[in-house]
Symmetry: C2
Subunit: 605 residues, 2 copies
């Protein structure tokens, strides 16, 4: 298809909006793809809309290929839908709400688990109608506290959301089969979009297990950290990433003291780095002891035991996590290692229970039984350690596990070595002994989940199986940020002059730049060329504006169409046109007019 610049709206500008920092926000604005209408609310101009339609089309083809059927649910959802799942409360301010003329309240759909569950619940009557996968490509609404980075975090955005329904998990027709099909479809989508991406294991939230993956577009400007094992290909996000074995040199809690335990007065220092500087101790030789409160009833531990199974009558109230000063605690790992749901201890309660928050040391456990202490292997060895002193404005030097904490160290009911921190660059790979994890930055563009029966249980969606037994329906859900994918592509593919679109999602494949828009010979050449390109299945934009060539070339680089063909007197006199790939620096080459379509096709793949 052929469009003309003057028949569409591409308001390129030299200046980016004042609030634009990320490359995609700057470039999509400057290149006339998007325009801010309100906080986190953007117009998609014709170029953006063409790219979004191409991304959507790829998504649709892959969803259809994964056996999902497309539908469209309303954006406006009666708030009563959320009654059973309580997400009206859980979402909080994130949920936009509308009150109608009769006082009825609707939410603007931030995602559609509830309405799709209500639809399928009301539509199917027999287990024979499962499995079923449904999807939509739809505008979603979320009242983000801090909309930013243009389309990367906005309040109205386009998302593909899919949902699958099953009677069982394993085998034909089960959740795992659909999940695997979606996993493959997602890989196909982002591959076909021309993106360099990583599928990472992710925390799945309330379901547990390895039942969630995120798809990350690799880009240095990404706000998420990805960890990869270059040998095994294992990849995970920072919340999820396991760390390989870390043997403790000399055995855990078994070293000789590095010196006398010495108290140091460290008044009013705001953080571990300031304290370390003051004490002349590096953060990696300091112990950070984080106090969590155990909430609810214990989940089973990995080994199937809970504290009470192990014969300890007293309940756990506190979970202490001890890690190196330069590491970050990982709440999901703490939860899974402790077997308890945990929350960061509220300061007031923790103080009342004897924890001097900000100055807690492992020594605080001596003489009490209401705790479980998790110790990261990196701090269980010997050598010099600094720590809090369990006393405001004081720290200690020469902390020694055996001397300070004593006999309880051997009791798995109270103290456990465990991986409880975020992985970092250089950590051992959890899959390949000897290999080391490397880190990268990514932008999350897709996320797939095994939901289990969370929603069907909450909404009373059961089905009779072949034995006439009621069963909870098992679900999966699968999201792709369509508008986010466009922005992520720009984050990954640009240079100082503008965007560089992958061919599959470029608004047009070829830009024909006319040096003289009003010249009859140029116009005829442009039209003939465009017709040939369109016949070759390419989408063509003709820059027919009455502007100087310099302006046109700058705009061409800015909007990032993969191929630019320039019609000028010199080449035209020889029956040629200048061919230039956007991704290649330097000057173009003259090709015969008749050869241009094949040359473009070859480059575009």
């Amino acid at each position: 298809m052929v469009h003309r610049w003057r028949q569409t709206l591409i308001p390129t500008t030299r200046e980016a909006p004042a609030d634009a920092e990320s490359p995609s926000h700057v470039l999509l604005s400057r290149a006339g793809f998007i325009r801010r209408l309100g906080s986190g609310i953007y117009d998609y101009l014709p170029l953006a809309w063409r790219t979004l339609r191409k991304v959507s089309q790829i998504v649709r083809e892959e969803m259809d290929g994964a056996g999902a059927a497309e539908l469209m649910l309303p954006a406006m959802l009666p708030i009563e839908l959320y009654k059973d799942t309580k997400r009206d409360v859980d979402y909080g301010d994130l949920l936009f709400k509308v009150t109608d003329r009769k006082g009825a309240i609707s939410a603007l759909g931030p995602t559609h688990e509830e309405p799709i569950t209500e639809l399928v619940k009301g539509s199917i009557t027999s287990y024979k109608q499962l499995p079923l996968s449904l999807y939509q490509v739809q505008t979603k609404f979320r009242d983000e506290a801090r909309p930013r980075s243009g389309l990367l975090r906005c309040r109205e955005f386009i998302m593909k959301d899919a949902y699958s329904f099953h009677t069982h998990v394993e085998g034909a027709g089960g959740l795992n089969e659909a999940y695997d099909a979606m996993f493959r479809a997602y890989n196909n989508v982002f591959k076909r979009c021309g993106l360099d991406f990583t599928a990472v294991e992710a925390e799945s939230g309330p379901i547990g297990g390895s039942a969630s993956h995120e798809f990350m577009v690799n880009a240095p400007s990404g706000e998420d950290t990805i960890l990869k094992c270059p040998v095994s290909g294992y990849a995970a996000n920072v919340e999820k990433c396991e760390i390989g074995d870390r043997p403790v040199e000399g055995g855990a809690f078994n070293s000789v003291p590095s010196g006398e335990l010495t108290e140091v007065h460290t008044p009013g220092l705001p953080g571990i780095h300031e304290v370390g500087k003051f004490m002349k101790v590096k953060p990696e030789r300091m112990l950070k002891t984080i106090v969590f409160r155990a909430v609810g009833t214990p989940a089973l531990r990995d080994d199937g035991t809970s504290r009470s199974d192990a014969g300890t009558p007293e309940g756990i109230q506190w979970v202490l996590a001890v890690i190196r000063g330069d590491h970050e605690v990982n709440e999901g790992k703490v939860k899974s290692a402790s077997g308890w749901k945990v929350e960061l201890a509220p300061e007031k309660d923790a103080r009342a229970a004897g924890f001097v928050i900000g100055y807690v040391s492992p020594k605080v456990i001596v003489g009490r039984t209401d705790f479980l202490m998790l110790v990261d292997p990196d701090v269980a060895g010997g050598g010099f350690w600094a720590s809090g002193a369990d006393k405001a404005d004081h720290h200690v030097k020469h902390f020694n596990w055996k001397r300070e904490v004593g006999a309880v160290l051997g009791d798995q009911r109270y103290v456990k070595l465990a991986d409880i921190r975020n992985a970092a660059e250089g950590d051992p790979s959890p899959r390949t002994p000897g290999a080391r994890l490397v880190t990268g930055r990514g932008i999350e563009v897709g996320h797939i989940f095994k939901l289990g029966t969370k929603y069907s249980d909450a909404m009373g969606f059961t089905i009779l199986d072949e034995k006439q037994q009621k069963r909870g329906v098992i679900m999966g859900c699968y999201g792709i940020g369509v508008s986010r994918t466009m922005a992520a592509s720009v984050e990954q593919n640009h240079d100082e002059n503008g965007i560089i679109w992958p061919a599959a999602i470029a608004p047009y494949h070829v830009l024909i730049t006319m040096m003289k828009a009003e010249d009859a010979a140029h116009m005829q050449a442009a039209n003939t060329l465009a017709a040939g390109l369109a016949d070759a299945g390419l989408d063509v934009l003709i820059d027919d504006r009455d502007e100087r060539p310099g302006v046109k070339f700058k705009d061409a680089d800015l909007i990032g169409i993969p191929v630019r063909l320039t019609i000028g007197d010199k080449a035209l006199a020889e029956g040629g046109v200048e061919f230039k790939a956007r991704r290649d620096p330097g000057k173009g080459e003259v090709v015969k007019l008749a050869d241009a379509p094949a040359k473009c096709r070859a480059l575009l793949g």
Copy 2:
């Protein structure tokens, strides 16, 4: 493409929802196309979504053909956008509003004149960038007071809205050229959708002239009345329809009395029909005098004069419209005949000014000069007339114009014969002398307007022309109800068994019904057949459910796929399949499997 019933969601039912009355609401619900989620809010299930996508695609192709570029504006529009046009107030309760976490208010777009004007205003700088036509296919939101008839009047719906921008009206690049292109595109859209429709002249609101057309799908269940001249092809909606010359027999206001003016006591009768019954007078022999209040300043009359031009110092305060008791007054015609903006007189004010509302007669004008009386030609002749008596609970018989109202009748400043009522079946055609208007019912699916500078003026959107003069930008706007078109098609195309889709917008072209879903030979035949049909460019649904044939046939009629191919033992033994067109009653015919695709293609056109 080939889909399987069991892989999609088509929850057919025997019963329609309790509130469903219109055929499209009943059938789309029963056939599993839509499901009500809230008041005026519907899920589009996979079949509906396929039809909606096909309608949208036709719309897109025709919009592109008319030179418009597609984009997508947000649904959530900062309320400040409406400040200048005051439509936040004019829309009133129709506008859904959302308050965000910071207290900022947004409207959910009911249509997008303001944001598109704001976008184009902010994007173009030179008259050289005009004309420009832009469109989107988008979900719109309107808080209808009485959502009804399923998708025909709902609160969240899909609309194509286009807008054009110009520096001038006539000639190349002008509004009229774009309007005409849109008019042709609209005709193409509805023709391609396989609909029987009428393009009618419509009231254009604030702009005046003949600058608006509605596209009506002809259907007896339609809520709009269409009038057509079968000779000239003239068609208009009831608000707009002109009426041809109606000469007054014996001359206007010129007859001899039918008898003595006689007052009749008509206590507490609620309406003209009850009064007529009581007085034994048919409504068509009664005068209805409606009192309007003139508001604002006078517009120019058709002849270019206003009351003050005509030398009458006093202003008009009241416009009286006198029509036959069985006719309906037409406010637009009253406005245009009087040269004044008018509103129905508030009862309290009218009473204070001496109008006994409910009992007003033309006689009320005697002795006053603050009025203009418009008289419909149908009541200006002689014979018997009944009328109000300008006195509560009283009417008169034998009203005679000359006797009762007198000399002022000849003064065009005070009394004017004019077409001021809605046209009705049998009225003279305004285009062909001797021809009579016929009426029909229609469902409005498209509306195109010449807006002029209404929005650009309100929003301060001017542009410098080639002489560096500031000019208001001239706009047109063009809407198609996409979801309404689907429903209108069902209103027009159905029988007692279900929907009958036109091929172009059917969710699938061909339904393959397997008599035995589990039979390997049937399955193989179905697959081969489906592949052949898909190769012929047809969309195929295979009914692979384990259901009785009777259930499948009933469902096939209900969902209305144009062709049903039935795979059964008998035909299959002879290498055949039963072919049945949904629109043809009676039984199907057996065709060779290999001939089926060509036969389908031929029927589908």
